[in-house]
């Protein structure tokens, strides 16, 4: 069959342009992905360099200048861009340090939960049978427990500290990691290259970590973003209830809780930490949605 050039595109040509277009659009024109990534990186930057960025010591009280409003008010104090809280602490500095708490707890927790969840999911998906039945039951048990109540109960028993909060959240949020890893592992385990790895006698850990894990990383990363947002909101809720991060640490949730008595006269005092939480969570969710769209398109 000779190749006569046609003015109508051939199927192969058409598919190529399609794929090229899809890839370009997926990465660049995904506004949610770009926005999410930018904000998350920005907050991470702020969290890391908090001591350099914060204009004041977040713990330094100035009782003569309490509840100073932020810059858009007429009576704003020129020294404090976002005003001061009920103890006269610089609100901007506390919000900046708050990013540290949120990101630190968020990443710490998903590191733990990711490790637990992926291990369980890999084992369940790879071995199937009884191992799968046992792990699936564990997952069901975890799903049946009310997260926030369990977290509160454990914190109430073990005492509230940063480490405990990270550990509790990490130990509770692994279920989605396990579910997704299990499903993804089930899909790849019978593939040719896994069979050949088994045939040449690779060790179990080698197969699980070197062969399977890299191939299921896309869905795991998407879950990680969802759970990061989840962990940050959970920490805020625990702190809000007084059983999370303890004063005087500047957690956004705790700031909301401390400020709620004053919100009737100074509404901005609950607006600012809430907006921070909202934007960070929104950005992480958009990043996750974007990653899901892009990786799903690639397949």
């Amino acid at each position: 069959m000779s190749d006569i050039p046609l003015s109508g595109q051939t199927e192969a040509e058409h598919l190529r342009t399609l794929r090229k277009k899809a890839r370009r659009r997926a990465v660049l024109a995904h506004r949610g992905l770009i926005f999410g990534l930018t904000v998350v990186l920005l907050v991470a930057f702020v969290a890391v360099f908090a001591p350099l960025l914060a204009p004041y010591d977040p713990f330094a009280q100035n009782l003569s200048l309490r509840l100073a409003p932020p810059f858009w008010h007429d009576t704003a104090s020129p020294e404090h861009l976002l005003g001061t809280d009920q103890l006269g602490r610089d609100y901007l500095s506390r919000l900046i340090y708050g990013a540290r708490i949120s990101m630190g707890i968020g990443f710490g927790a998903i590191l733990i939960s990711g490790l637990i969840g992926c291990t369980l999911g890999l084992l369940a998906g790879y071995f199937g049978g009884k191992v799968d039945a046992v792990i699936s039951t564990i997952i069901t048990v975890r799903l049946s427990m009310p997260i926030i109540l369990i977290a509160l109960a454990v914190v109430a028993v073990a005492g509230a500290s940063l480490k405990i909060v990270i550990a509790v959240i990490g130990l509770l949020l692994w279920d989605q990691f396990a579910v997704v890893t299990r499903t993804a592992t089930l899909q790849v385990r019978s593939l040719e290259y896994i069979r050949s790895a088994q045939a040449i006698g690779c060790s179990l850990s080698h197969i699980l970590i070197r062969e399977i894990l890299p191939n299921i990383r896309a869905p795991v990363i998407v879950v990680a973003t969802v759970e990061l947002a989840h962990a940050i909101l959970l920490e805020a809720a625990l702190s809000f209830l007084g059983l999370g991060v303890q004063a005087p640490l500047p957690s956004w949730g705790l700031m909301l809780s401390e400020a709620k008595t004053f919100m009737f006269f100074s509404p901005w005092i609950i607006t600012l930490p809430g907006v921070c939480l909202f934007i960070l969570t929104l950005a992480i969710n958009l990043l996750g949605d974007g990653l899901r769209d892009v990786t799903a398109r690639g397949k």
Partner: protein
């Protein structure tokens, strides 16, 4: 009067890569009591043409036509509600996927009677009687009990019969069958074909039969439109098109049909090399020239002429040499 007459039908699909020209100027004409077969490979636009006639195109599609008349009444500017009143009532359609074309959460009775009562009104008992009559007519035994079954309890052949019964609930004047037998096994296929031919005869309906299978065409077609890449490349009566195929594409299709005694076990079945091209720009040249074994230099520079012969037989080609085509050649 011609039952359905469509002139210069065009359908474009909006895709990521631009406007895909799926149907590029197709004429269709069906008489009462006759069957028109639309024949072609998958992707040639035959299903899109049928969907356009019923206003069932997907939202990503746009269409236009110079004329579209049902029984002399133009449907060009008909709104969705007018079309909706016609669909299932005066014009019905049967699709190729009997396994998925019935709603899984409703019983056969709900689905059959729903159509009847939508268009004809009437009470439950009348609708039920009609449903039982038709189920029996399409060859379903024990029709009364079948009524209360769900689609997933029936085999593919039975489901297709149910779909045919559903299409006939309101005694349509025209029935469009989109590869209704493709998903079925060979025996069932034959039974359904016989049934459709009988029903058309009995009810005096017009029928448009969409298929890629020339064997099916030779059994039930009165007229044939051979479609390629969104255009009709040859049309005429069954005997003219199948007996004196004059377009190289039709000839290629005919060579690819296994015939006992003609292609023995030793001889190879004919194939047409290459695939159907997709068009994103207007292109008046012959769409088949890339795969044609009789192409001339002129094929790459000039649009193919319509060569017509006796009995409305016509073909879109520069290089035809079949005797049934008389005169008109440049």
């Amino acid at each position: 009067m011609t039952l359905l007459s469509v002139k210069n039908l065009r359908v474009n699909l909006r895709t990521d890569a631009g406007r895909l020209r799926a149907v590029r100027g197709v004429d269709i004409s069906v008489e009462r009591g006759q069957t028109l077969c639309l024949v072609g490979e998958s992707g040639c636009g035959k299903s899109m043409a049928a969907l356009a006639m019923l206003g069932l195109l997907p939202p990503s599609a746009e269409w236009s036509a110079d004329e579209m008349k049902l029984d002399g009444v133009s449907l060009l500017n008909a709104g969705q509600s007018t079309l909706s009143n016609i669909r299932g009532n005066r014009v019905s359609m049967i699709f190729q996927e009997p396994m998925t074309a019935l709603n899984p959460t409703f019983t056969i009775r709900d689905q059959l009677c729903g159509v009847y009562r939508r268009h004809k009104g009437g009470n439950r008992a009348q609708a039920r009687e009609r449903a039982i009559y038709l189920l029996e007519r399409v060859g379903i035994s024990n029709a009364r009990n079948r009524l209360d079954q769900y689609p997933h309890e029936l085999s593919g052949g039975l489901r297709q019969r149910v779909l045919i019964a559903m299409a006939l609930m309101c005694e349509p004047e025209l029935i469009i069958c989109d590869e209704p037998t493709t998903a079925l096994d060979v025996t069932t296929q034959a039974q359904i074909l016989v049934l459709l031919a009988e029903l058309r005869e009995e009810l005096g309906m017009g029928m448009i039969f969409i298929t890629h299978d020339l064997g099916v065409v030779s059994r039930i077609g009165d007229h044939i439109n051979v479609m390629y890449a969104g255009r009709v490349v040859e049309s005429g009566t069954r005997d003219a098109v199948l007996g004196c195929a004059s377009h190289p594409y039709t000839q290629g299709l005919l060579r690819s049909v296994p015939r006992p005694g003609v292609n023995g076990l030793q001889s190879r079945l004919g194939t047409i090399p290459g695939t159907v091209p997709s068009f994103y720009q207007a292109d008046p040249l012959c769409p088949f020239r890339g795969r044609c074994e009789r192409k001339l230099p002129i094929c790459a520079s000039q649009a193919p002429p319509v060569r017509s012969g006796a009995g409305h037989h016509s073909a879109l080609c520069h290089n035809t040499e079949i005797s049934s085509i008389a005169g008109n050649s440049a």
